[in-house]
Amino acid sequence: MQTHIVTDPLTLQFDALACQRDGRVLFAELNLVVEAGTCVELLGANGAGKSTLLRTLAGLHSQYQGNFVSPPGVYQGHRLGLDELLTPMENLAWFAGLESCSFEPSQALALAARLGILPLAHTPCGKLSAGQQRRVAMIRWILSPRKVWLLDEPLTALDIDAQRLLNEIIAEHCQSGGSVVCATHTDLSVAHKTILNLRPPLQQASSW
């Protein structure tokens, strides 16, 4: 087991980390240091524990063995986290308020334009398609000051255009010093990505 002294607060570190569900260990232990600016592509078969790992890093899942160090992250799960009665702009304002950040409508609108949903900026999210809602979520990630992105299969329901935009956004985020841990079945077209494969566990330890 390597001992790695972490000095950078934006580094993710996994130390013999293995998530558990109902007493079962889901995957073989992970030992990894994710430096700032890295994009980690999280691979594994269905049910391997990718979603559980991301939720653990986000703080939503508490059953695991080993240790991890993670700065606060932006989590994007299967559920989008958007209120369908509110417009994209209102949702984004709410997210900013949650983190007690100031909300710049102009910045949000610029991003909406880039992502091709500017005309929908003031339509309740319930009326948007799944792909359009996912684009709103992308704006949320960018606007948040948090440097770590924990994304669970973000390419779902995205058309070719949106997939390209997603890859661009991830690349830009990494270039500006943020990290991304992204579970995906489709390859990310990001230069310099780290592959993290979740393998089945070696042994089932008595965990309760």
């Binding site: 939720r55 986000a58 703080g59 939503l60 899942h61 508490s62 059953q63 606060p72 992250g73 932006v74 989590y75 799960g77 299967h78 559920r79 989008l80 986290g81 958007l82 209120d83 369908e84 009665l85 509110l86 209102e90 304002a93 709410w94 997210f95 900013a96 308020g97 949650l98 983190e99 007690s100 309740p124 948040s144």
Partner: protein, 221 residues
């Protein structure tokens, strides 16, 4: 943060007014059922009005509790607020507060109408309103614990009722006592203090317990 949370709740309230209308409609509907099924019970200035009113208030609260966190749970905003919020505890408290506004406060305001329909004497109405004003926040707070734990269940309604109704009992007892005392022209200060104390204790304890329950529910996915 509080401002943003309240603003969102306000917008949701405006766009989905059913959350206020439904509890009121249910209360009125069940009043109607009583009037039809047992007219002698709801006769003018009856003794039973206090009990019937409070039980109906409890049931209305119960129905409305199921929805307290459900929308946010299903859409994913609940887990987002638990991750992103500076103080998730405050987010929970605000949700409970808004639920009370849509249920408890509405019931208090509707008392001058519903009360007499159930046979409450006019003399008792102010005291009843006070009792409901002091007691319904406790119902929302205590109920939020059950709502937090059961939001992940698909058929959580009955379990919610089982968990939460025993906790409602003290509010029911003191609440009906105040209404009876008000109707008889007696002093009800002591009971009012007890009810206020229960609400205060619920205010201190419930948000933590509700948050703990929500964390469990969120982990159930």
């Amino acid at each position: 943060m509080v401002g943003a949370l309240l603003l969102r709740e306000w917008k949701i309230l405006l766009r989905a007014r059913a959350s206020i209308v439904n509890p009121l409609a249910f209360l009125l509907l069940s009043t109607l059922l009583f009037a039809i099924a047992a007219p002698q019970l709801v006769a003018e200035a009856s003794q039973q009005a206090s009990g019937i009113l409070w039980v109906l208030v409890l049931f209305t609260q119960l129905l409305s509790l199921d929805a307290m966190f459900r929308r946010d749970y299903d859409s994913g905003t609940l887990e987002q607020s638990m991750i992103m919020a500076d103080v998730p505890f405050v987010a929970v408290l605000i949700r409970i507060f808004v639920q009370w506004l849509g249920t408890g406060l509405v019931i208090v305001i509707a008392t001058p109408v519903i009360g007499p329909l159930l046979g409450l004497s006019w003399a008792a109405v102010p005291g009843t309103m006070l009792a409901l004003l002091l007691g319904t926040p406790a119902l929302s707070l205590l109920g939020s614990i059950g709502a937090g734990i059961t939001v992940g269940f698909s058929r959580g309604g009955i379990i919610l009722a089982l968990l939460v109704l025993p906790l409602f009992l003290p509010v029911l007892i003191f609440g009906t006592d105040i209404v009876n005392a008000a109707g008889a022209g007696l002093n009800y200060t002591a009971q009012a203090y007890w009810l206020a104390l229960i609400t205060l204790a619920a205010l201190i304890v419930s948000p933590f317990a509700a948050l703990a329950g929500l964390k469990i529910s969120v982990e159930m996915q």
